[in-house]
């Protein structure tokens, strides 16, 4: 599938923003989350900007962005419609939470929990939009939606962790929570990569329909040039390059952050270098997530490629 820049940016950024909210609600459940104003303001700004910039970027790939509002109407059948609706609904408790949290009013927790539930629903809808597509076997499986959720959560909690380093504060249980979500993120992705090695039941034989007693092979495409289907649905990446990028994701988004968190005490003495290195860690982790999302698209084969020379998908 064509790795559209705006969709990759959207899913990673908004996922991270929602992840921050979800992680924050977990922390609020088990500990106090009343930090100093600077820390609060940074968290509010970062989560708001990530979610909003992501959502705005998602409209960039539309042919008619000015009609985007129409997509809220078909929530009965369409995961994309549900995703848009959930994303907008999340803003209501989210904005109230921001305000109440900043004003230090205790009922902020209830709005945080509501925003967190709606964030989970939004990411769930994003995942289901891909997972419901039978035409793309690499997406039509049980791993895709949990991956979207855990990726958002791990990078979201990492963002909060990096901010605590920046403001030299501590949040109870955040250390374990971040490590656990990063480890889960890595484990789930590797399981997914193993899973997508199995081929789907659709093949050139079922696509042409003559494969029962015959050997069917591709002879000639409909034309020598490209068309919408080949540019949108049929994209290839060399195996070596894909493996290299997978390794980049593992190191940048999982191993490096975990190493930094665990080895922090032994690594860094200077306070400024500590802040800087955690900032770099977060940037690297985000780059790793963009790479993971790029692979999610470029390595997913669409069954229409069976009409353009593939024998299996």
């Amino acid at each position: 599938m064509h790795p559209s820049k705006s969709i990759i940016f959207f899913t990673v950024m908004s996922g991270t923003g929602y992840g921050i909210i979800i992680c924050l609600s977990f922390l609020a459940l088990i500990a106090e989350i009343n930090f100093n104003y600077g820390f609060k303001l940074s968290l509010i700004l970062i989560s708001f900007l990530f979610i909003t910039l992501g959502l705005l970027s998602s409209t960039l790939h539309l042919g008619h962005p000015e009609r985007a509002w129409r997509s809220f109407s078909q929530w009965r059948s369409s995961w994309l419609s549900r995703e848009g609706l959930a994303a907008i609904l999340t803003y209501i408790p989210l904005m109230i939470f921001y305000l109440l949290w900043f004003l230090e009013m205790d009922i902020f927790k209830y709005f945080l929990y509501s925003a967190s539930i709606l964030s989970v629903i939004t990411i769930y809808c994003t995942g289901q939009m891909y997972a419901s597509l039978k035409t793309v076997p690499a997406w039509h499986n049980v791993y895709v939606t949990p991956i979207y959720l855990i990726n958002g959560l791990s990078i979201g909690s990492l963002s909060i962790y990096c901010l605590t380093r920046f403001y030299e504060s501590e949040i109870q249980h955040l250390y374990q929570f971040t490590l656990l979500s990063l480890a889960l993120c890595l484990l789930l992705k590797i399981t997914y990569w193993f899973h997508i090695r199995t081929k789907s039941t659709s093949s050139i034989n079922t696509a042409i329909g003559l494969g029962k007693d015959n050997k069917v092979s591709f002879f000639e495409g409909p034309h020598t040039g490209k068309n919408f289907l080949t540019t949108e649905m049929i994209n290839k990446i060399k195996k070596e390059k894909a493996n290299f990028l997978r390794l980049c994701f593992i190191i940048l988004s999982c191993v490096l952050p975990m190493y930094m968190i665990v080895q922090e005490a032994t690594l860094i003495i200077d306070a400024f270098i500590l802040k800087l290195s955690f900032f770099i860690t977060l940037v690297f982790a985000l780059i790793g997530m963009l790479i993971e999302r790029y692979l999610f698209f470029i390595q997913a084969k669409h069954v229409v490629s069976l009409y353009y020379g593939e024998n299996k998908v």
Binding site: R67, S71, V136
Partner: protein, 246 residues
């Protein structure tokens, strides 16, 4: 709108005979010709006279090689356009309701006024029936020539899709595949018409007829007699031909 109709009064669709199709691409050309000035007009082309032309086409002809022990090797030309599925995923994934299936005849259409161009319908279609128009910013597709088959300004005999009326070999048939008494339904029964990718569960309306089995008895007999007969001459060959043509 986005949900599929509970029932279909008719199932209008095409039947494509892979035994007859000669791969001349006339159906695809006439499809472009009609539709670039009809319901979906214009079907934009990008860089049409340049090095790397692309454009919107609703119908394309692929070619495959089909080999079997009995029939040997055979070239099969394979035209493919929208199959107007009964369980069309392109309709249900649409976030705006622009993509819809008509209750009266089962034709799947796109409303150009409400399509936002998100391309999700094209992802959900296993057959690659959807065509995004880059210039117009909306999705387009085969309309089964909805502006031709009901058009009272043209003679009744012409009220079939452009691809059907133009096929010089008669490889394409059009009709109501939901009507068990229709000729097209009987044709599918008789020739073991089949669905493409049934495992995708889209229940396509369009059917494909497989190439007929070749009768190779004569060819095999002739070849055997040639290879077994050391005294084979032009006269014996001529006799075989004459026998066969009687």
């Amino acid at each position: 709108m986005t949900s599929l109709p509970a029932k279909q009064n008719k199932k209008l669709g095409l039947v494509i005979d892979l035994d007859i199709c000669v791969g001349c691409h006339a159906c695809a050309v006439n499809c472009k010709e009609w539709n670039t000035s009809g319901h979906s007009s214009p079907l934009h082309d990008i860089d049409p006279y340049g090095d790397d032309p692309t454009g919107v086409w609703f119908n394309r002809i692929h070619t495959f090689e089909v080999e079997s022990e009995i029939n040997g090797s055979k070239t099969v030309h394979f035209p493919k356009s929208c199959l107007h599925c009964s369980d069309a995923p392109c309709v249900t994934v649409c976030p705006t309701g622009a993509s819809y299936k008509r209750e009266e005849d089962g034709i799947v259409l796109v409303n150009p006024e409400t399509c936002i161009g998100c391309k999700l319908c094209s992802w959900s279609c296993p057959y690659g029936a959807r065509e995004y128009d880059e210039e117009a910013g909306i999705m387009k597709k085969c309309t089964l020539c909805v502006d031709k088959i009901y058009n009272e300004n043209i003679p009744e005999s012409d009220r079939v899709p452009a691809c059907v009326s133009t096929c010089p070999a008669g490889a394409r048939s059009f009709g109501d595949l939901g009507d068990e008494n229709s000729n097209i339904f009987k044709l599918v029964e008789e020739r073991n018409g089949y669905d493409l990718m049934p495992e995708q569960d889209c229940l396509p309306t369009n059917k494909y007829l497989p190439p007929r089995e070749k009768n190779n008895q004569f060819k095999n007999d002739a070849l055997n007699s040639i290879t077994n007969d050391n005294d084979f001459s032009f006269d014996t060959w001529k006799e075989i031909i004459e026998d066969a043509s009687k």
